[in-house]
Assembly symmetry: C2
Homo-oligomer: 594 residues x 2
């Protein structure tokens, strides 16, 4: 099991030097106390908790998994999970970025996101229990009545209760229009919820006294499609302590995140309370979904970081073969494998994707803070547009890169990477689901090209590109930055043309946008990372020649990214330009395999 060391130095770099949180956040109403010192002390406390409490129970949790007891429908989490959760609550982390009116600490997302990254790095399965609660908190906070807020929020904020999102049914995942769960009025303002939900993360467990399910269901006579879905609060226990009719029917057996209980939840006339407007449940749920998508992207980041740490440590210790240029450690039987170019390729890929992902999440967290608190509506709108555009990119690009990174970390270990004891293959298995849930990465790609880019004729994308152009123009005269600015400007131009090309093609054939979607999301991801790496290099250059090696590593990694990872866009653009015909011309019945 690789040890985990929280990347506090890189958090400080990203927050204070790259996106300069302190120039913005403490000026926002309600965040006056969020000083650099406050950030640092919270991050240190979270680091200590993750390193010493969560990381040590990560592999044991994977081996043990969760246990379902059919007799009483209870679920037991692995040894140490409940105790760690207790401590997490005592430290006040469940309410870190929650409303002080309900007991929260009112801290900004720019602080909450790095904490979330550390949780996912050290124990992603565990992190989902509080993660889902936060989603329930957000939905109730945004859409609940005053009474609902008073009833549920304080307990969710303190962590005494946890929450879930109940969307998926056996026959519908992506296509929520097909969902069948029913909500019948009880006559007292409450509803009787009946149906079966599957893949409910943290659906049942022994960490908390109560579980608040947020459930999508149909009112009688509701329209049959997505316009007929409403959202309900269904607590496991009622206010009077009596048990509600919602029970775990079984747990799924999964490839990874085994220590998180993925439950089949049976609602048998369970009492529920409508939240938000009737038939507007999907919009309410999206309050949770957008946050969940960013949280999911964070899993790719956090697991990539954990894998990088394990692989780097191993690559410095494992002796095998000699450096091509002559022995690096002639006193040893062989050289550490970090001398080999191909091992470095894998380590640098992990490092480049992880550090850019960290920068992206910090940038997005800052936009969320501005969107929520900025007194100027234009600033809020600007920030909200960037978040809307980049949320599918953060979800899909970060989880795909996390899967690449965790697989490379495993590969660095050679045969030992395949052995469970080393912990590297668990990171691969745990990461794999992040490409699937909260909307598969294919769905994210459709969201990006369709809703976020083509629907507003590229307005949001142009705003984002505008920021990049502004950055690039500001580098004129800085010769050190040319190696980054020139390819970035070129890529931006190519991407603009590409977007036009897809938009034109999509007007003639509706399959064209969908055919381009996955490749297009990766192109936009690379545009984003290239911009962030150029910005990180700029910060490093400004430290001057005598700066600590940390900054030189930023410049070197930026160069690696531009040299070795960014060229992927050439193939992606060519693939997109070949259009939809190569995908669509084979009849379904001729997709034979024998």
């Amino acid at each position: 099991m690789p040890a985990y060391t929280a990347p506090l130095r890189d958090f400080a770099f990203v927050l204070n030097e790259l996106i300069k949180v302190q120039e913005v956040v403490p000026t926002l109403p309600g965040y006056g106390d969020a000083t650099e010192d406050v950030y640092a002390s919270y991050l240190e406390a979270a680091a200590k908790f993750c390193e010493s409490e969560l990381a040590p129970i990560n592999r044991s949790g994977d081996e043990a998994g969760c246990t379902f007891n059919p007799a009483d429908h209870s679920v037991t989490t692995p040894v140490g999970f409940a105790a760690a959760y207790q401590q997490y609550c005592e430290l006040g982390f469940p309410g870190l970025d929650c409303d002080p009116a309900y007991g929260g600490q009112g801290m900004p997302k720019t602080l909450a996101f790095p904490v979330m990254e550390m949780l996912t790095s050290s124990n992603v399965a565990w992190s989902m229990y509080p993660g889902l609660s936060h989603g329930a908190y957000s939905a109730i906070h945004a859409h609940g009545t005053a009474e609902q807020k008073d009833t549920y929020l304080p307990k969710l904020v303190s962590g005494e209760w946890t929450g879930t999102m109940c969307l998926t049914e056996p026959h519908c995942g992506t296509d929520l229009g097909l969902l069948k769960t029913k909500a019948e009025p009880n006559g007292d303002g409450s509803y009787a919820i009946s149906g079966t939900k599957i893949f409910i993360s943290a659906g049942e467990h022994d960490l908390a006294d109560n579980i608040i399910h947020l459930v999508l269901a149909r009112l009688p006579d509701a329209p049959k499609d997505v316009k007929g879905i409403s959202l309900f609060i269904v607590p496991k226990f009622h206010a009077d302590g009596s048990r509600n009719g919602v029970f775990c029917g079984s747990l799924e057996h999964k490839m990874g995140i085994k220590a998180n209980a993925t439950a089949v939840m049976n609602f048998d006339g369970a009492k529920g309370y409508l939240i938000g407007e009737p038939n507007k449940g999907l919009a309410c749920m999206f309050t949770m979904m957008n946050a969940a998508r960013l949280g999911c992207g964070m899993q790719g980041l956090g697991l990539g970081e954990a894998s990088f740490q394990g692989a780097l440590t191993y690559a410095k210790e494992r002796l095998q073969m000699r450096a091509a240029s002559g022995p690096a450690c002639p006193d040893k039987a062989a050289d550490p494998i970090i001398v080999h170019p191909d091992v470095r390729r894998m380590l640098l890929t992990q490092k480049a994707y992880t550090e850019a992902g960290r920068a992206l999440t910090a940038f997005l967290a800052l936009q969320l803070d501005i969107e929520e608190k900025h007194p100027d509506a234009d600033h809020q709108k600007e920030a909200a547009d960037l978040v809307a555009l980049l949320t599918p990119v953060a979800k899909a690009f970060m989880t795909d890169n996390g899967y690449i990174a965790t697989n490379m970390g495993m590969q660095v270990f050679g045969g030992h990477g395949f052995i469970r004891e080393w912990g590297m293959e668990q990171l691969v298995r745990d990461c794999r689901i992040s490409q699937i849930y909260e909307g598969t990465n294919g769905i994210q790609a459709l969201d990006l090209i369709g809703r976020k880019v083509l629907l507003d004729q590229g307005q949001k994308l142009r705003k984002f590109s505008g920021q990049i152009v502004t950055f690039c123009k500001a580098q004129e005269g800085d010769e050190r930055m040319r190696e980054f600015v020139e390819p970035l400007m070129k890529l931006l131009k190519d991407t603009g043309e590409l977007t036009m090309h897809i938009g034109m093609a999509a007007m003639k054939n509706r399959d064209e946008a969908a055919a381009a979607a996955t490749d297009y999301l990766r192109v936009i991801g690379h545009v984003t990372y290239a911009w962030l790496w150029a910005r990180m290099a700029k910060v490093a250059f400004e430290q001057g020649d005598g700066a600590e090696p940390f900054y030189q590593a930023k410049i070197t990694t930026a160069r690696f990214y531009f040299a070795k990872l960014l060229p992927e866009v050439h193939g992606l653009i060519a693939s997109i330009k070949s259009g939809a015909v190569p995908l669509m011309s084979l009849d379904a019945e001729h997709f034979i395999f024998q």
Copy 2:
């Protein structure tokens, strides 16, 4: 668990129409009986065995794994494994391509390879038990004395005994020069072998009466590097039935191939017999390794095929959302997901990689048959050179593509892909090791660029390119083929320049070849697949307009490959041209993660 249907139609296409086995193999000495009918009847028998015996115990085997009993060092394989092995032996498959002098059926590799593919598709963990035996058979057949052959080969050919390859030790995998296992003369011509070997596939089990270990060890006073390694035969049981001092110490807990026993083997003065010359053990072992590398590549192919079959079946049944161009199945609640371009992208990627991989293995099998049996030494040399050049490509490109394919198959299933019951995630886990063992794919890439291309100044590569050019020139005047021939010729030209570029750079800096290696192997892989897809399209075009849909699907898939997968080379070539500096310029101690 997806059902498995052996791709007999595609085997027939590849063998009879694409590489035209019947024009060559029956003309080779000893293969006169290998008619089309003989191939068909063997393939049908193997298909039946794989479909009805091996596929049904694939998932149960993964769940159960192997059990080690420390009391007697025995290993129990999952339920059904021993019975299936018994049946496999009764059918005569262990000796399919073995020497009739020792009871083998003397069939060509062009028949044995498709059989191997079916074994890996239906149950890769099971397939490794006979697979390792075959390696031991080959090494003894090539390097053993007459007495050794008489002692061991008949039992390996009948399957009564199995075999292993014992190379890896805890501190050395890739770098066999570090190995420590000792072989001390007993004075009677035998040796006492002492040491610990790890990652020994099929090292201990309950399928056969005896296990013949082929073990690398050092003679006293042997040179300390790879020039001081010798190969020994170490049977579990001696000829008189007494137990030898080689025992399984434990089994590894792994990510996948759980039903194959990956053993730690302790040799405690075990009696062994030198095979081949003293200190020439590595060369002997490479007789097994080259075959093992092709077999390993076949695992990527076979698992990709299994995943494709599962995903295709699901994509035709699972209803979710509507086609962008309007409902495809208006009478159903939603359309089958095969209507969606992004799902088709995944299915076609699986199909394109799998069918090209099948064509490549058939092509290589034909070269092996020619290398072994052709009466003309020049023909033999030509074939041997192609095999040498393309073995690392087949191993690494096919397993990397197999991993891509199995992951896509899982993605098609959405959340259900992550659930063990469906069997799709097992294919991912089982495939993952193929990128690591038998020389990691990074090592394959070094073998290709270093030993196979640069060492002979590109001679073998030019021979291979020559074949491709000959094919392309032969298409002149066939307008239908232009869409394939033009990009293929262009790629061939680019690849020639790229190889020159790397060769020149490597003369100045020895890290340059290693820095390019992994990307370069993928480029050569794409050259190979582009050529094979062009050839397959040609065969299909020649059927004319009224041909069965099978042929149209070949043309469509070839177009998909050229449009959507081949463009990857643009990024790879750009990455290679950026050279070694971006990989080598960060000091090892500055690869920090905090």
